[in-house]
Symmetry: C2
Subunit: 417 residues, 2 copies
Amino acid sequence: MHSTAVAMATAIDAQRLWQRHMAMAEIGATPKGGVNRQAFSPEDGRARQLLISWAQALGFVVSIDDIANVFIRRPGSDANAAPILTGSHLDSQPTGGKFDGAYGVLAGFEALQAIHQAGVTTKRPLEVVVWSNEEGCRFQPGCMGSAVFTGKLQVHDLLAVTDKDSITVDAALQATLHCTAPLPRRSPGFPVAAYIEAHIEQGPILEATGTTIGVVTGIQGMHRYTVEVLGEEAHAGTAPLQTRKDALKAAAAMVGALEELMADDTDTVRFTIGRFEVSPGSPNTVPSRVFFTIDFRHPDQTVIDQLTSQIAPVCRTHARGCEVMVRQISAASPTHFAPAFIDTIRQHAAALALPHMDIFSGAGHDAMHLADVCPTGMIFVPCDKGVSHNEAEHARPDDLAAGARVLAACLVDLANR
Amino acid sequence: MHSTAVAMATAIDAQRLWQRHMAMAEIGATPKGGVNRQAFSPEDGRARQLLISWAQALGFVVSIDDIANVFIRRPGSDANAAPILTGSHLDSQPTGGKFDGAYGVLAGFEALQAIHQAGVTTKRPLEVVVWSNEEGCRFQPGCMGSAVFTGKLQVHDLLAVTDKDSITVDAALQATLHCTAPLPRRSPGFPVAAYIEAHIEQGPILEATGTTIGVVTGIQGMHRYTVEVLGEEAHAGTAPLQTRKDALKAAAAMVGALEELMADDTDTVRFTIGRFEVSPGSPNTVPSRVFFTIDFRHPDQTVIDQLTSQIAPVCRTHARGCEVMVRQISAASPTHFAPAFIDTIRQHAAALALPHMDIFSGAGHDAMHLADVCPTGMIFVPCDKGVSHNEAEHARPDDLAAGARVLAACLVDLANR
């Protein structure tokens, strides 16, 4: 096991890995150095095309499933063995960075190429996966591809979901499938022996502690809600304030009250209202509708249950005569990866003499869905100041390469068990 | 004077006036029975085309100025006399009603046709005007056409103003001018002997008191502001709340604090936040930018000065580490129409035996700009429950006709002085 790890450390090409990040970041590049490559957009399609072209040039077999998850396969010696899966996502936030998601895909692909070119045979096949719509910013819920793969969602139940321009998942997904055609089509959800995902930390801990490898022990729980507030349009100059049903003022009061509910001296609660849309949006008309999202996260299920049960009552308390509809969009419990899997990653990081530490993930990842169907783990690498979901997101080439080395070693190890 | 008023009462065709409202309301019709005919949109252009076609069919001369205000002229016996102007606007809110603005244009046109077909000669010319962009919902400020006409704004200073899709006034205005070509082009701001505007009340008073004609004595003062809040994007799952610069939570706190500032037991203050935009608008990214508008109105200049001076300080107090920019977009003092003009309208309403009362306008109108350059007055008619800036806005055909009768009588009277 240790000799394989060392072999992989040598085979990983840090410069090639970095250049692929830069090439990928040109697709959907924003003026401030980030990327806008939202799920099932033309940019998302072009990112897939680029990766597929690299894979096909190396002779790997590429396939796609009904939710457009892409799989790049290197066969194992046992044709009947379930594969070891690694990867992440290529979609981004509207003002996202170059590394969130892309790193897990490109590190997986670099590991696949390194293993392939080192002539290492594995018993199990290795597959690099691109999960569709991890971010969930354009179409909710996020982690859509991995949720479908693991049977938690069905494609046909998602087709009617729309983005803010009323484009359906159906239309956008078909366009994405079309732009990657022709590829062999697989049914979602084939058996997987293990899943391992590399990712930038998206938080400040590794950098602050001078640690290169974060051995991820789990992912905090996450709940998503939408709140719709329906009031009544009126003329800004004539309608008395006391008779108005002002959806904006009601929604603003809800935001304030939810902040009080979520107040937390330990600063562990994560409470975000990221999307907040006001209609009709005219300066001299009282708004009749506000739609907003709530993203709530915490590592402790008890706290999650206690606080989230108050969200709807708090919103209704501040309705001020408006109708209020609170809907739960998703509810993921905290994930705890298996100790044996955590050990495997820790041992390979140690064998490569890389500074490493256990770390809990604040961000959600596709790995949380995979953890329900197979042994799963994650490898984190540092990012500058912990900045992510921001065009300024940055990571260092040698840290990215270090993570890919640990990943490659783990893949060979897992695929030979 | 009284015989003319009676003649005009007979000549006004209530059914024709109503049918023209219905025909106009088909342009930009919304599913809920309102109209979406925002300034300088294709729908605004088609509304102008329809009116122009009616005017040209009756042989009236139509002209247009550089901000696309349209003028329909019936000559007087004195070729050198300044005209009496009447009209309003054809643009609407995104979810507006059939009568706001359109009534003043169509009542003016009905009066012009009635006077013309009754064979009444006037000394001064009569002109019906369509003011551009009264609503100010797409492009700010509103009352743009009348502000340019009265020299308060210059066209070249407005061309770079954009709507939320980044379309400029320049582009939209050119498209509007193009769709009405070829018309004789006039320079904005020719001399006017008097201006009189008919409008639905947009408030509940006339209906509640069983009054047909509101003799408008003035218009409350109106200030408009924009507030831009700049924070910092961050990941919803990882960024600790205490280190965030969350533009949405800051802006929501500003809304709450502004509500406290504007609290008013007499319910006279009108304070509206109608447009409120949040970027980047992703559920799992901390918002980095909020842009919102403040519409503030009051009949008393002292109160206006006192409250509006607090707007920027209150916003800054709740910035929470974000940058805050408060900009004043417009500041109109309360308008008081001349007593003699008010008398003229009152006398014609009385001569026609129509129930009438003095009324102060809560809504802003192009008349407030005209009042600075010539004798000006307004005639209100009731609308159902005072509902306006709402697709449900409604007015009764006989009330609309009554207002047009008073308007026609006033026009003949004023044009013969």
